[in-house]
Symmetry: C2
Subunit: 326 residues, 2 copies
């Protein structure tokens, strides 16, 4: 029997989940739940059912795992505990500082209803977190470094778009190659914010706007850009729309450590993603399989990627995994 | 209370485990068990206890986890099930084709005695296996590539040393950069054995030996070298002993996949190890922590790295992990 997946929220991430379900023969799309008028949502799958999110409870027996695809700022802190009343849930909550609070809320809601919830699934938090954990548990004497990019930061792109005179903008976070090489060489460098990442901005200015003023407003913007080396490149709108219409991202987790009497050991994990939301969606769907199985074994409450044995992610049996993948 | 570790077999790997225990404050060395005369074993730790392996049963209440450090060819198939009668066990069994059989034997022995056993822990099998599993579960549509090196292959080094006229020899397995670049570029190449790895041999010849005959015997040796591009470099003994006295290794696991409508996604994991046995030992010790905890929760039978949730490897609590590492 297929695992029946619900999608709560249909933006880039929700669409990515819909596409990822198609790549997993043991899954099926039970329905898309939206706050918009369902008629305004155009799913990729022609026969996909779209329901009002506020009526989700009615479908509680038709969904094995609800994947929440809203934003971490305001959607998920409210929606994940709420939907946990009726469903097993999984989200990609990524506000690192608020994870303990969100975990406690989802755990309480899940335990009350007898459901299972997995939070903060994706690549960071998610796969990068797993790699930090494995690497630090193995190389106990060492330093961990996370670099992000080259990739689009939505938050930084939004910040640029709020600058007067900016019509369109996108920001790429770029890891500094020299810093990564120093880590790989076992130098355990102390790196400042500026030494770790560059910020590349591409901007379409409004007609007649003062480009130098825009540039100055961007590079001096506190929190977002003032601590970084930032480049601002102005473009024509046609070229911008053609060259900057995808959402690549990625990054690196490195653990540089020492064993025995000073032997250098290096672990490196990296992602190069053509589409950040499609990849995050693929991670969510693999963990939805784990949720379905763990629930069948009787698990309840909240978990994270740290608490889930890797075998639960795969459609293969233990025997198959040991024979072919170990 | 510390986790009390026993070491069965004291070669490079056993010595690595002894060193790794020193890097983990929640562990202590309960004793080294050897088939040799205990007086002939010289541990790194001055006060380490060395016992005859054949008397291991006497110490069954003094060891929480026995780490087996023998070889996969003849030691572990016999020793791991045997010691599972008296101890929770963990090994680095790496004969991929015989893993199902070894798993069944260890599982039966563990269940009979009420112990827990984890087999095939290290980096391949081990961390590389984990990365293959995570990556294939997430990017279901794609290809997986494992490259090894640059590093010392004991089996190939031994094979060269059996060639008449060879006094000393070492062999490095080297991944072919062009093949790795083709994978990274998303070309999903079909790679032959020769296209994936080179073999570099460094040889000290006996005085008066025919070097050209040695070279020819190496490069044409079936199974070991004939399917590869192999280089043979002759050296003076002094230089050899100075330049080739460590055991580096490492490698790469790459998953090149596609999401949605043809979006390329790339996951890459790599290790650059100054000492293969010291690193493998560090992985074993982290999993020994997991064995101790899972046993306390009542787990019995055989497991692999696929069956163990990552959190069990870390000395940190769930709260600490969620706050600092997620």
């Amino acid at each position: 029997m297929s695992i029946r997946i619900g999608i709560a929220g249909y933006g880039n991430l929700g669409r990515g989940v819909e596409l990822a379900i198609q790549k997993n023969p043991d899954m099926e799309l039970a329905g898309i739940f939206t706050r918009r008028n369902p008629a305004d949502v155009k799913p990729v799958t022609a026969d996909a059912k779209v329901y009002p999110l506020q009526e989700a409870e009615k479908y509680k027996d038709q969904v094995d795992v609800m994947i929440l695809c809203g934003g971490s700022a305001t959607d998920l802190p409210e929606q994940t505990p709420q939907l946990a009343q009726w469903f097993n849930v999984i989200d990609s909550f990524d506000t690192h500082a608020k994870i303990p609070e969100h975990f406690a809320n989802v755990d309480a809601a899940c335990r009350k209803a007898g459901h299972l919830g997995v939070i903060s699934v994706g690549w960071d938090p998610g796969l990068f977190s797993l790699n930090r954990l494995y690497a630090e548990s193995i190389l106990t004497d060492g330093g961990t470094y996370t670099f992000w990019g080259r990739g689009v930061s939505q938050g930084h792109s939004d910040a640029i778009r709020r600058v007067p005179g900016v019509k369109r903008a996108i920001q790429y976070t770029v890891p500094v190659e020299a810093a990564m090489e120093a880590v790989r060489a076992g130098k355990n460098p102390e790196l400042t914010t500026r030494q770790k990442h560059l910020r590349e901005c591409y901007v379409v200015a409004e007609e007649g706007a003062d480009k130098e003023a825009i540039r100055e407003a961007i590079v001096t913007m506190p929190n977002y850009f003032s601590d970084y080396d930032t480049t601002v490149t102005f473009m024509e709108e046609d070229a911008f729309l053609k060259e900057h219409n995808t959402m690549p991202h990625g990054g690196f987790v490195m653990r540089s450590g020492v064993t025995g009497e000073g032997t250098h050991q290096m672990i490196e994990y990296s992602l190069k993603l053509g589409s950040n939301p499609e990849f995050t969606a693929s991670v969510l769907v693999a963990y939805a399989r784990a949720v379905s199985r763990l629930k069948a074994e009787g698990a309840v409450g909240a978990k994270t990627v740290f608490d889930i044995a890797p075998a639960y992610l795969s459609p293969l049996s233990g025997e198959e995994l040991r024979s072919h993948m170990l």
